[in-house]
């Protein structure tokens, strides 16, 4: 346990992902330090979701080795890693309250007679407060807004205080207030638990102030580095092989001209499958 506490929560060595004859990226080495937040950027279909799922043991890379929380990835799913999958709105008649959604993170994996435990309940209450959800804890989840649902899913992922947190587009289609709330929850957990965070996003701005490094996957290759070294017109132009401009507006960055397949973005839920 000692090495795990002090060692890197995530080590990726010589990772490669190929689809048929096409190489999405190869030779990826990445060591994530405790408390570090890495944003994963790149166009649709660049293997961002597959990378996260490979860390969880749910998908396989074409090549390379992943060590998560001191153990090589060896089976499907890992309860010690927090995971926020890409969002899907819940149907309005979902028979579950806000509290129950969070509770799944605490005991959803347990088989056997579902008898509630007192400390589980306390943990759920705590998580609901973290999510700012105490006021709607007993409302049906299907009737909540997308932002409220997303905050609950973040709380669910944080249930076991994971030291590695993987977030797949956690801010998509949220309003500004909810984007900020979700970023605050993730950032707070990172600081309090010294957790490493890998966050897939197509818009860097909501997290720009918190990001330590950026992993940019595009054009069959990748670039890894501090935001100021990656988010540059020359670097991204080279990566995409097309004219891309990074412009500064106040303390925000705008990437213009990146050939992002954003229009098809909402139709590729099965990207990882």
């Amino acid at each position: 346990m000692e090495t795990e506490q002090t060692g890197a929560p995530l080590v990726i060595e010589r990772a490669a992902l190929r689809r048929g004859s096409r190489t999405l990226w190869s030779g990826l080495d990445l060591t994530v330090r405790p408390g570090e937040l890495i944003a994963v950027l790149g166009p649709s279909g660049s293997g961002k979701t597959t990378l996260l799922r490979a860390i969880l043991g749910l998908d396989r890379l074409s090549d390379g080795r992943i060590t998560a929380l001191g153990e090589p990835v060896h089976r499907a799913g890992n309860r010690r890693i927090g995971y926020i999958p890409q969002q899907r709105p819940l149907p309005p008649d979902t028979s579950m309250r806000a509290r129950d959604l969070v509770q799944l993170g605490v005991d959803g994996h347990r088989f056997g007679i579902p008898i509630p435990r007192r400390d589980d309940r306390a943990r759920v209450d705590e998580l609901l407060v973290t999510a700012g959800a105490a006021t709607f804890a007993d409302r049906p989840v299907g009737l909540l807004s997308g932002g409220e649902q997303q905050r609950l899913r973040v709380a669910q992922a944080l249930a076991d205080r994971p030291r590695l947190l993987l977030c797949d587009e956690p801010l998509t289609s949220l309003d500004l207030a909810n984007q900020e709330a979700v970023v605050r929850m993730i950032d707070r957990h990172r600081r309090e638990s010294q957790a490493a965070v890998l966050l897939v996003t197509h818009d860097i701005n909501p997290v720009l102030g918190k990001v330590d490094r950026i992993l940019y996957l595009a054009g069959g290759r990748f670039t890894l580095g501090a935001p100021r070294d990656v988010l540059r017109s020359d670097v991204l132009t080279d990566l995409y092989g097309a004219a891309v401009f990074v412009m500064r507006a106040g303390n925000r960055l705008v990437v213009v001209g990146a050939p992002d397949a954003e229009a098809s973005h909402h139709h590729h839920e099965g990207e990882h499958e």
Binding site: P85, M96, D100, F111, I113, P140
Partner: protein, 286 residues
């Protein structure tokens, strides 16, 4: 049509109700167990969007029972074999909703056709043939009723033990898999439990009407509440009310059980819709 005949068909047996009831008490128990597990499993059927799968499984279950009749084997065993084969096929081939629906759409008419073929070749009494499609619990023998009750009990235990991972997988399979829930096995186990429930239901209300006890009660419960305990409890209650109420009413006369069960089930659903609509209005105006 003579209204006197209708009255006689519905309530002709009221005079001997006590004796009739003693004769059919096992049927009532089988109905109660089926109502209970049908309501419970229905909650997951709704959440997993599998109403169509229920229908598909029941047609193959019917084919299995018909084949058993023709071969001189036990009809309950036949329906279980048919159900489990269908459930396993759907669970194995149709992981995604879209594929699943096309597989069911292909299997269902095939199963129904096979069943009709077996029944036309079957030399036995014609009443027996019809009952597999539209149900007639009171003609099921006592030994078989014992089996139906036992199978219901097995499904109940299975559902309780799988409860939390199944809920997790039904809501968010990706998050569940990431948390180490063996989602493939959980889904397959669910399909097999569903197959067993359907096999029991085929004998009680018939292959064509299985949904009245496996889908309708849960759909009704979900209209009026969202509590994790309230929905399954209410669904089970509705299922038991429809199954037991239907049998108790039917044995007063000589009409089949199924229309009573389906009518009660549907009436409960309508009432729940009305209550749910009222609740939504109130919630919105708050």
């Amino acid at each position: 049509m003579n209204w006197g005949d209708v009255w006689g068909a519905m309530f002709g047996g009221v005079g001997d109700y006590g004796e009739i009831l003693a004769l059919v008490s096992n049927s009532v128990w089988a109905g109660a167990v089926l109502g209970l597990v049908g309501g419970l499993i229905g909650v997951f059927v709704m959440q997993r969007d599998m109403a169509f799968a229920v229908h598909g499984i029941s047609e193959l279950s019917f084919a299995g029972a018909a084949a058993a009749l023709l071969l001189g084997a036990d009809a309950v065993t036949g329906s279980i074999v048919g159900s489990l084969v269908a459930a396993a096929l759907i669970g194995w081939l149709g992981a995604r909703a879209r594929e699943r629906n096309s597989i069911i759409g292909v299997l269902m008419p095939f199963g129904l056709g096979l069943g009709i073929l077996f029944l036309s070749l079957y030399p036995g009494r014609s009443a027996n043939r019809f009952s597999l499609l539209t149900g007639q619990i009171v003609t099921v023998q006592n030994g078989q009723l014992g089996w139906l009750i036992l199978i219901g009990g097995v499904v109940l235990v299975g559902l309780v033990l799988l409860w939390r991972p199944l809920r997790f997988d039904s809501l968010d399979p990706q998050a569940a898999a990431a948390r180490g829930v063996p989602v493939r096995w959980v889904s397959l186990a669910f399909m097999l439990l569903l197959g067993l429930v359907v096999a029991v239901a085929v004998h009680i209300i018939g292959a064509l009407l299985v949904m009245a006890l496996v889908v309708t009660p849960a759909a009704a419960a979900m209209r009026v509440t969202a509590g994790p305990l309230a929905v399954p409890l209410l669904a089970a209650l509705f299922g038991v009310a429809a199954a037991v109420g239907g049998i108790l009413l039917a044995v007063m006369g000589e009409l089949p059980v199924s229309p009573y069960i389906t009518t009660i089930s549907f009436a409960i659903y309508l009432a729940c819709r009305a209550v749910g609509a009222r609740r939504d209005r109130v919630t919105r105006s708050l």
